[in-house]
């Protein structure tokens, strides 16, 4: 049940640089981003002026893939985990391959996972949502019932409060997937929670909700009624299809902008009360221990954050000259209003270009185009949201919170670009 922790004793480091040189000498493959294929040998019979094999013979027919899947050449675009992080895979986390994705929508099969008791495989015919407590009419709803309510669609990011939590004491993981991959963004379809609560009829002393999961952890968190009546949803679909089991099939709670742990998956029950419950996940975990020994609790909103996804340690540079730098920014308090990029470790900044939809509490894509001379770079990005919050440096965050607060690390990330094109996760001052 442990949360991502700081590393006690890391394994002895192999020399990555030596390994890199060896691989390069042997002539390696490219393949570090979407659409990346194997570097074709110069002699290939599929290259001009030859006619490629796939231009002559017929391919597979329709429904050869009744449920489509990515090209076999994209097989390395997958969720990954860090085995030493947790005691078991049932209570663990996997990471979104941010460095291999484009736009702002995460494909359903690639959104990071965080389970506390494994993936519940639920027969929707045997699933129920019960709403009770301080209500006029305790309700029992089937999936079919839930789908009869008026529905809404909303794109929202979901970030685990422990995203980047391994980096509090210093740079530790060489990969954007691992440092920032506990975030994803999809379009949810479902019922405003407000409508379900109105159907049950809230009593006047209703102040808090306790959503509960049907998994083997029976996950529970206390949610204030204001959020429940604002933009909370009970969702049954993501990106146009039913939720995937690892994301809470058949029902999950959606709390835009708030820490992912509260978005209870496999939602089976909502109890209405007049006080918070102080469950394990909002006391023992998901609280911020400060240097003076006190602990901040109910830290619901995710502070504005950004990261450069390309280039990054898993997606090194291949070319001098014109370079497209790409990244993601998000805020739990509203829309992203500005993203700046630095090539010199935060000394000078230039405005990045936001592209695609800029939505409230959703991932926002940014680009910055520049000419790379081949000199070393210290890449950083910095998000500003519509409330005026500016993503802080890691040093500024540590001044406020010390090194042991685990959660809500939204400090500015630095990638060091070497002349070889290799990229490493570093910290700067």
């Amino acid at each position: 049940m442990s949360d991502p922790k700081q590393i006690p004793e890391p394994p002895s480091p192999p020399s990555r640089r030596a390994f890199l040189r060896t691989s390069l000498a042997l002539g390696g493959a490219v393949g570090t981003g979407a659409f990346a294929g194997k570097a074709a040998a110069v002699e290939s019979k599929n290259l001009p002026p030859n006619v490629p094999e796939w231009s002559q013979g017929l391919g597979d027919g329709v429904v050869s893939r009744p449920y489509g899947r990515p090209s076999k050449f994209e097989a390395d675009v997958i969720r990954r985990d860090v085995e030493w992080l947790t005691a078991s895979r049932q209570s663990s986390v996997s990471f979104t391959p941010l460095h291999q994705l484009e736009g702002i929508i995460t494909p359903n099969g690639l959104g990071f996972e965080r389970h506390h008791g494994g993936i519940a495989e639920i027969d929707p015919a045997e699933h129920r949502l019960m709403i009770h407590g301080l209500v006029e009419k305790p309700l029992m709803l089937t999936l079919e019932d839930v789908r009869r309510f008026p529905r809404v669609n909303r794109i929202a990011f979901l970030e685990c409060a422990a995203n980047s939590g391994m980096e509090w004491k210093g740079a530790q993981l060489n990969g954007c997937q691992f440092t920032h991959g506990m975030v994803h963004c999809v379009m949810y379809t479902g019922v405003p929670l407000k409508l379900l609560l109105e159907e049950a009829g809230l009593k006047t002393n209703a102040k808090w909700l306790l959503p509960e999961g049907a998994d083997a952890a029976a996950m529970t968190r206390s949610v204030p009624i204001e959020k429940a009546l604002d933009d909370a949803m009970v969702a049954y679909a993501m990106n146009g299809e039913a939720l995937y089991p690892e994301h809470g099939y058949p029902l999950r709670l959606v709390l835009p902008g708030w820490q992912g742990n509260m978005w209870v998956k496999w939602l089976r029950r909502i109890k209405v009360g007049d006080e918070p419950w102080h469950t394990r996940e909002e006391t023992s975990k998901y609280t911020a221990l400060l240097p003076d020994g006190r602990a901040r609790r109910f830290t619901w909103a995710m502070d504005a954050k950004s990261v450069i996804t390309n280039p990054s340690p898993q997606a090194p540079m291949h070319h001098k000259g014109f370079t497209v730098l790409s990244g993601l920014a998000w805020s739990g308090r509203g829309k992203i209003s500005q993203v700046d990029v630095s090539l010199d470790g935060g000394r000078n900044w230039r405005a990045a270009r936001l592209d695609g939809p800029v939505l409230d509490k959703a991932l926002t894509r940014f680009y910055y185009e520049f000419d790379w001379t081949g000199d070393p770079l210290l890449l950083q990005s910095r998000a500003v949201d519509e409330t005026g919050y500016v993503q802080p440096t890691k040093a500024a965050l540590r001044r406020h919170r010390g090194l042991n607060s685990i959660y809500h690390n939204n400090g500015i990330q630095t990638w060091h670009v070497l002349p070889s094109g290799e990229i490493e996760n570093v910290e700067v001052a």
Partner: protein, 226 residues
């Protein structure tokens, strides 16, 4: 959005009036009433004031036997934790140190959370199999391991559990980032000459290099810069 966690309601109502549906505040008559028996079967949550505790009782002495059989393989005989599984006892006085040990005794604010969590989610892989009496006994044993209870035969039950207080309760406080970290709301960040001199590298992930090998294989195979 409101910067005050307590004032969310005031600021928030405007944001999602888009959710105001044609049927707002009117019953749609969907679903059916949940019966008292159905509610009883799932209504397992327990609050710090004791609301939700089932009738039952237990002692640390009884809890020790259950703990050794059903909990110790992960949590250690004395709650010290095995491998990366959580420590449940000890850690007093470590919260301000470089390596805080957060246990029931050193960190958790409420005893009710122990009862609630053990019953709903433990033992790992056999959730909701412990009886109320077993859960009271395990709770008592954890309190005994943490020196909160001194007498292993002291009976913990639904009437007195909420009166037992944990030492760290007073050290929790409500989210105050929007005032404590007000300096981050500067709106207009520095754009030029923001550091007194050139940035220097102070730490590198590769010093530890704990990145999973397979993940960086692709990067390692990367061709040279052209």
């Amino acid at each position: 959005m409101s910067r005050s966690p307590n004032g969310i309601g005031a600021a928030v109502t405007a944001v999602l009036l888009a959710f105001a549906s044609p049927a707002a505040a009117e019953r749609l008559n969907i679903g059916r009433a949940a019966s008292p028996e159905e509610i009883k079967g799932w209504d397992i949550d327990v609050r710090p004031d004791g609301q939700g505790l089932p009738v039952g009782k237990g002692t640390a002495a009884l809890g020790e036997t259950i703990f050794q059989e059903r909990c110790a393989s992960c949590h250690g005989e004395f709650g010290e934790g095995a491998g990366r599984w959580p420590e449940l006892a000890g850690g007093a006085g470590t919260l301000k140190s470089d390596s805080p040990v957060k246990t029931v005794g050193s960190y958790w604010p409420y005893v009710s959370t122990v009862f609630d969590f053990v019953h709903r989610a433990m033992p790992f892989g056999a959730a909701q199999t412990l009886t109320p009496d077993e859960t009271y006994s395990l709770t008592a044993y954890l309190l005994y391991l943490n020196d909160i209870l001194k007498d292993q035969d002291f009976e913990v039950n639904e009437k007195n559990l909420a009166t037992i207080r944990l030492p760290n309760e007073k050290n929790f406080f409500m989210d105050d980032r929007e005032t404590a970290e007000k300096e981050f709301w500067t709106a207009k960040p520095c754009m030029t000459d923001c550091l007194p001199k050139e940035a220097t590298i102070t730490g590198r992930a590769r010093i530890l290099d704990v990145t999973p090998d397979k993940a960086s294989e692709k990067a390692k195979e990367s061709p040279p810069v052209q």
